[in-house]
């Protein structure tokens, strides 16, 4: 009696039992949502030579490097930046500080300004190189450099977006049991975890939340091991979780397929993963994605440099400036849930809820 398994998961009846959550009283939604950050007059940035130094993976990683690339592409399209006046370099696995320094130095000495380092890994090298080139404008995604006037930090409030992901998860869960899978247990990813936990618990105080990381800090293979992501998510589904939020880079693919096989749902990260080609086969389980708008930050930074108005940039790209948010593609977030989410969002923006950035 050997049968072919059909596409959907019939082979994994989720073990745990549970009923839908008892929800806390959600805040009421405000009348209007906040405005977009990048509004205003058309900026001309055609004079700029823009350099991007990506982290490992570079353009095309379907993750935050790609998001940064999208910001640059938009700048080329909207602000008249010339393609030939841009250069993109990316880091290699296991390279040392001096390679990063050389990369930034190369860009700086060839007259690129602004230069954007994508990823906190550039913090130390940018500190050094920025001091050597005081007239060059640097932007640093996910990191900051103390005391360097020409380095603009482009930081995000991932925890705030993740808070909303937690609320979504709680409302989507049929068993009041959700999970979080992180790629590598580093502070950056822990911010996602912290916000998610807080959000889920805010929405449903009795909710059960699983968490796991694929690898510990230092072993960055956790961001590119989809098979392990799959197993990790399956474990959570077996324990009863039915909505999984992932912050695991290229391993996320495995988490989506685990959700698909286990009749669970998933929440994507960084970009709107429902529309992402690499995970198209599992898009039906993606209820939403926590958006981290690196593209917006990069675009705004370029605009600010062009206008010579860096001070106008937000200190942190948070919910207020739409630096983080959630995606609604796929139509799984109905108007009611959207209203609830906007309510929480307003409270965070107003400061009535402060979201922790550490678990």
């Amino acid at each position: 009696a050997c049968a072919k398994d059909s596409g959907g998961g019939n082979n994994n009846s989720s073990a745990g039992t549970g009923a839908a959550c008892e929800f806390a009283q959600p805040p009421t939604a405000p009348a209007t949502s906040s405005t977009s950050a990048a509004a205003g007059a058309k900026v001309d940035a055609s004079a700029l030579k823009i350099g991007l130094a990506y982290d490992i993976g570079g353009r095309g990683d379907a993750s935050f490097n790609d998001s940064a690339a999208a910001g640059l592409d938009k700048a080329i399209a909207d602000m008249g930046v010339k393609k030939e006046n841009t250069r993109e370099l990316s880091a290699a696995p296991n390279e040392d500080e001096s390679a990063k320094q050389t990369r930034l130095r190369q860009l700086a000495s060839e007259g690129f300004s602004p230069i954007i380092g994508v990823g906190f890994a550039y913090a130390e090298s940018m500190k050094l190189v920025a001091a050597e080139f005081p007239n060059v404008k640097f932007g640093l995604v996910d990191g900051s450099v103390e005391g360097a006037a020409n380095v603009t930090p482009l930081l995000f409030a991932e925890q705030e977006g993740s808070f909303l992901a937690g609320v979504i998860a709680a409302y989507q869960s049929k068993k009041c049991h959700v999970g979080f899978v992180g790629g590598v247990e580093i502070p950056l990813i822990q911010k996602f975890e912290a916000g998610y936990f807080q959000g889920a618990q805010a929405a449903a105080p009795k909710i059960k939340v699983e968490k796991s990381y694929i690898t510990p800090a230092g072993d960055f293979t956790g961001f590119q091991d989809a098979p392990k992501g799959l197993e990790s998510a399956k474990g959570q589904i077996e324990k009863g979780a039915d909505v999984i939020y992932q912050a695991a880079g290229a391993s996320g693919k495995g988490i989506f397929s685990a959700a698909k096989q286990g009749n669970a749902l998933a929440i994507g990260v960084d970009s709107d993963q429902y529309n992402q080609a690499t995970v198209a086969d599992t898009k039906d389980v993606i209820v939403s994605s926590m958006l981290k708008r690196v593209d917006v930050a990069v675009y705004d930074f370029i605009a600010a440099v062009a206008k010579n108005d860096i001070a106008s940039l937000p200190k942190v790209f948070d919910l207020k400036v739409n630096g983080v948010g959630y995606a609604t593609s796929g139509g799984k977030i109905d108007a009611k849930l959207q209203g609830i989410l906007e309510g929480y969002k307003a409270q965070i923006i107003e400061g009535k809820i402060t979201v922790k950035d550490k678990p």
């Binding site: 296991n94 390279e95 500080e97 001096s98 190369q106 000495s109 130390e124 502070p187 911010k191 510990p216």
Partner: protein, 357 residues
């Protein structure tokens, strides 16, 4: 003269061969190999690249020495990778938490690093000596555990502190640093490079001039003959593994003492594996290793220039792989060639008149 030719010709042949190979790959992909190689060569003079190459050479040199000590007695220490990681984090934690006068502070950090590396190597060594556990397996496993340990030690509730999105150990105070030689815009050469050179000299002297080196080589060549000659095989396994681990412990110190002053998520991994390739490339000889390390460092650092001319940087890895392979093949080809010519020479000289040596 023939002696020297036998030593220098093969690497030269190998480099030429690898360049041809990579050149062909570049041509196929539509790039211009000449501009690619040109960019790599001119990169040496740019910015801090030259000094970076020297610094990197020193680091690779130490790593390859650590590997070579094991190799000398047929111990395959794949664990250098884990040993230097553990040593780096322990040295950073200790260095950042003590206050001592300059010099002494640095020395203490160096000693701690060596001890930590040796301690991590001691586990597979003891398992091998007492339980006969194959060191290839145990060191592979220890490499994994080393990442776990370092991740644990830099947890915020252990010894770590948060720096933006990074996490790191407390910064080592300036008294623990090792000053380098500054070339202004050309960068700063790590002071630890001199230690690396001293290690190389020490390695040569030890291998060729001391009883310990003799026993090490004898064990590597024939463990049975060595034990009949009074060499205690177990002791040699233990000592050479500890020594290898101690030297491995120093790998990260040039960066730790000369630049980073802390252990963070930006830790440079993978040097231990490069060390294996370089030790083999240099045939476990201190001079050969220096050459291999320099070549490796040059390819690494100058390879960064390839991005600027639109050539995939992966060509560097291909070149490293093909150089390792073609160097050894070239040695073999040259050896066979010389053997054949020697045979012809003997044949001519002795003719058919018998003369067994």
């Amino acid at each position: 003269m023939g002696h020297l030719r036998g030593k220098l010709l093969p690497p030269a042949l190998a480099i030429v061969f690898s360049m041809l190979l990579c050149g062909a790959a570049l041509v196929i992909s539509g790039a211009n190999p000449l501009s690619a190689f040109g960019a790599m060569v001119t990169q040496v003079g740019k910015g801090t690249t030259f000094v970076d190459i020297i610094n990197s050479t020193g680091i690779y040199y130490i790593a390859a020495l650590a590997v070579a000590i094991g190799f000398q007695m047929n111990l395959f220490n794949i664990g250098v990778e884990g040993q230097y990681r553990v040593a780096a984090v322990v040295a950073a934690v200790v260095g950042g938490s003590i206050a001592l006068p300059p010099g002494i502070h640095t020395l203490v950090i160096i000693i701690v690093a060596a001890l930590a590396g040796a301690a991590w190597a001691a586990i597979p060594a003891i398992l091998k000596v007492t339980r006969g556990v194959n060191e290839v397996i145990s060191t592979i496993m220890m490499n994994g555990l080393a990442i776990g340990l370092s991740a644990y030690l830099i947890r915020r509730d252990v010894f770590g502190e948060l720096r933006g999105n990074n996490i790191r150990t407390a910064e080592i105070p300036e008294s623990g640093w090792m000053p380098g030689i500054s070339f202004g815009g050309g960068g700063t050469m790590f002071g630890f490079i001199f230690v690396a050179v001293a290690l190389g000299v020490g390695y040569w002297v030890m291998m060729n001039r001391t009883r310990f080196g003799f026993e090490l080589r004898a064990s590597g060549e024939s463990s049975t003959a060595a034990s009949a000659g009074g060499v205690n095989a177990k002791k040699m396994v233990l000592v050479s593994m500890l020594l290898s681990g101690a030297i491995a412990g120093l790998i990260s110190l040039p960066e730790l003492l000369g630049r980073d002053h802390t252990f963070s998520l930006n830790f440079t991994a993978g040097i231990g594996f490069s060390g294996i390739a370089i030790a083999l490339l240099g045939r476990n000889h201190p001079g050969g290793i220096a050459f291999g390390a320099l070549l490796w460092a040059f390819l690494d650092k100058s390879g960064l220039a390839l991005d600027n001319v639109g050539v995939p940087r992966e060509i560097v890895t291909i070149m490293q792989g093909s150089i390792v392979l073609s160097v050894v093949v070239a040695y073999e080809v040259v050896r066979r060639f010389e053997l054949a010519s020697e045979q012809r020479r003997v044949g001519r000289e002795l003719g058919t008149v018998g003369g067994a040596a």
